[in-house]
Amino acid sequence: MSWLTQWFQDWFGDWFGRRHQIPPVPYTRYGRVFDQSTDRLFGFQEGSWQCEVSSGAVILSRTDTDDYVRMRVPDTDCPPLPEPNAPLDSGLADEAEPNRWQIIGTPNTSNKWLIKQQTDQIQLAYTCYSGDFVIEVSSDYVSKTGTCTGEIGTMSWDGVALMFELGGKTYGIGVTWSHHFGVTEVPWSGEQSGRSYLLFVAQGSGVPLHAELIIPNAQTDVRYRVERSGSNIRFGMLNSSGSWVYSQWLAAGTGEIQFRWEGVRVLGGGIL
């Protein structure tokens, strides 16, 4: 083959639907490297040599010599993090997935994930859902420390939310502890404060945001949802009667999403 022919095939082969020949690889094991001469990780890339995964899959590293392939979903039973390779190679999600979650702060994950509003964040290491989806989170307010101050007539919601970016906006839904300062006729329980769901949309950074829906007096072991249809999303919350209450549809956007749990404070600027 002349250099001109090779050059033509390399640069224009795809144009004409004919791609050049990729030489076969000599490697016979993938996903675990016992021997560098014969084994490669799923995520290896040497020139044009690589494994291919389908669009709904992601390759995650476990160690320098071990990786695996999993679905691009956030499903979890919230195992202890980071889990350092035990039990290795079980083939089960939530076991030995040390690099699936990116952790900031010191969440206590010995029994599910106890996330502190002020310091902690747990983020999925990859993006999910190229199309429509519904995900559901089980969560709960546990406790609070310190004091919460606010001007009379204002409101605040402090808690931990499932957050994500989409179409240039930040979206979140979570479990919060709510204060209505100086107001005792709060819409739930006749107290100044109590647990509630909160969802919010933040447009840009450091600019005013708006919350779309707050359901007061959330139950323990609450559940909330995020749903997308086309380019619209909505949030759902399970009320005390066991019924799902949904926000209106919000024009959001398409594309894969990276989820995280993060502490939030939402300050209300007016009197209810």
Binding site: P26, T28, F34, D77, Q117, I135, T170, V266
Partner: protein
């Protein structure tokens, strides 16, 4: 609609709410399945492979061919073929949202009595034997991964070789440990000799003759000649020269590379040059004549040489006739085969011409030719041809030739098979498994890795 201000964290506020997240579940929208596909794998030879995936409950598909194909090609089909193919591609699929695809392996399958078996248990046996021999100086070991088939890990053992004076004492020791005298099958690379066959040799000279460890050339010289060349590089300390005819003496003989220089000879004559070819630099660790010599020097008595296959024989064709050297290697390039009316002459370079009288039974006559094989056309008549052979070379000593050997050759008797110059960690998995299979079926012990690499030139 009410408006709020979001402040993810308020540094000067001590308020801190603790929230527990217990689970996340995809209600809808998860992929129905995911797939990971390997590149196209070249095994070097057509081989029977049993693709494996871990965990075992995953979907597994593969395709194979003896012609290379691209990973995205529509053909060959994903039909999970069973057979010997050189090129393979495997893909694993899961539909389980909580299932991880951990590993894909292309495992060499062993055919025994028409049934395909894996070799999981074999690797464990091999490991045990290696462990038992650890103190005798092999430099690699294996361990089995029983759950998913033989997955080798290497345990480096210190080699007991220290110097030229005691290069192979560990091999002595380990033969003694066997407790009985068994053949030592030495695998290696050579310029000459049968490939993939056991060649029993009783002494060093026989070993040299069998595998090209020493070559003898009768060189005609013209008056005034000052040099001649031989086909292979000459070992610096391994040559002799004598004058067969001409009545002169050679003076100031100097050997360099594959050339012999001397003072001009006063008349024509013939000199006999006998030399040990130096092994190629990239093959000296497994140079068979050197290994066999070492074995005899160590006192081994039942020594068998086995030359790796995979090279090519020199050949030539014309008028429907094909002539091929009987042995692989460069030594037979340039061989001239001449069909004369009453005889056939074979002239291997630097060797005396051999003559075979024509016989009425041509096939019987051809079968007695020592140097070459003659393949006539379908309705042959004695030709008037002169053919010059070319294209011969020896196989490289590498995992591919070792694998070919393991597939083509089986030790005739229980014994010790020495695979020199290469640790078990260095050979491909399917090579190791092929030898493990051999070990089991032929009741042999296989030792990988020696220190022959430290003794590159012991041919003299």
């Amino acid at each position: 609609m009410k408006f709020y201000q979001l402040q993810p964290n308020v540094p000067d506020d001590s308020y801190n709410v603790f929230v527990r997240v217990s689970s996340v579940q995809t209600v809808s929208g998860a992929p129905s399945s995911i797939t990971v596909t390997t590149p196209v794998v070249d095994l070097g030879l057509p081989l029977l492979v049993r693709p494996r995936v871990h965990p075992s409950g995953l979907g597994l598909q593969w395709r194979a061919s003896n012609s290379p194909f691209n990973p995205w090609d529509a053909t060959p089909s994903w039909s999970n073929p069973v057979g010997e193919y050189r090129y393979w591609q495997v893909r694993a699929t899961t539909t389980g949202i909580g299932t991880l695809i951990e590993r894909i392996e292309l495992k060499l399958a062993v055919v025994l009595s028409g049934t395909i078996y894996g070799s999981t248990s074999v690797s464990a046996t091999m490991n045990a034997r290696y462990a038992a021999w650890g103190s005798t100086g092999g430099n690699t070991g294996v361990s089995g991964d029983i759950s998913v088939g033989p997955a080798y890990t290497c345990e480096i053992w210190l080699d007991s070789w220290t110097n030229f004076g005691t290069p192979y004492d560990y091999r002595h020791q380990f033969i003694s440990n066997v407790g009985m005298e068994v053949p030592l099958y030495v695998i290696g690379w050579a310029y000459d000799g049968d490939v993939a066959k056991s060649v029993y040799v009783s002494n060093i000279d026989e070993a040299y003759e069998a595998f090209g460890g020493v070559l003898t050339h009768d060189i005609p010289l013209s008056a005034g000649a000052t040099s001649f060349s031989v086909p292979l590089k000459i070992s610096p300390v391994g040559w002799t020269i004598s004058v067969v005819s001409g009545g002169f003496a050679l003076r100031n003989v100097v050997v360099s590379g594959n050339t012999v220089r001397f003072g001009a000879v006063p008349s024509s004559g013939v000199v006999r040059f006998r030399y040990h070819p130096a092994p190629p630099s990239d093959n000296h660790t497994a140079y068979l004549p050197s290994l066999l010599r070492a074995a005899f020097l160590l006192g081994c008595r039942h020594v068998v040489g086995v030359r790796v296959p995979g090279g090519a024989v020199a050949s030539a064709s014309a008028a429907g006739w094909t002539v091929m050297a009987r042995r692989e290697g460069v030594l037979y390039n340039g061989t001239v085969v001449q069909f004369l009316p009453d005889r056939l002459e074979v002239s291997v370079p630097y060797r005396s011409k051999r003559t075979y009288p024509r016989q009425s039974d041509m096939m019987s006559m051809f079968s007695r030719i020592e140097e070459v094989s003659v393949i006539p056309p379908s309705h042959p008549s004695w030709p008037g041809l002169t053919l010059t052979l070319s294209g011969g070379y020896s196989a490289n000593y590498n995992p591919a030739s070792l694998l070919a050997l393991a597939n083509l050759w089986t030790p005739e008797l229980p014994g010790v098979v020495l695979v020199p110059g290469m640790g078990l960690c260095d050979v491909l998995k399917y090579v190791a498994e092929a030898f493990v299979s051999m070990m089991q079926s032929a009741r042999c012990m296989v030792v990988f890795g020696t220190s022959v690499m430290h003794v590159p030139y012991i041919t003299g």
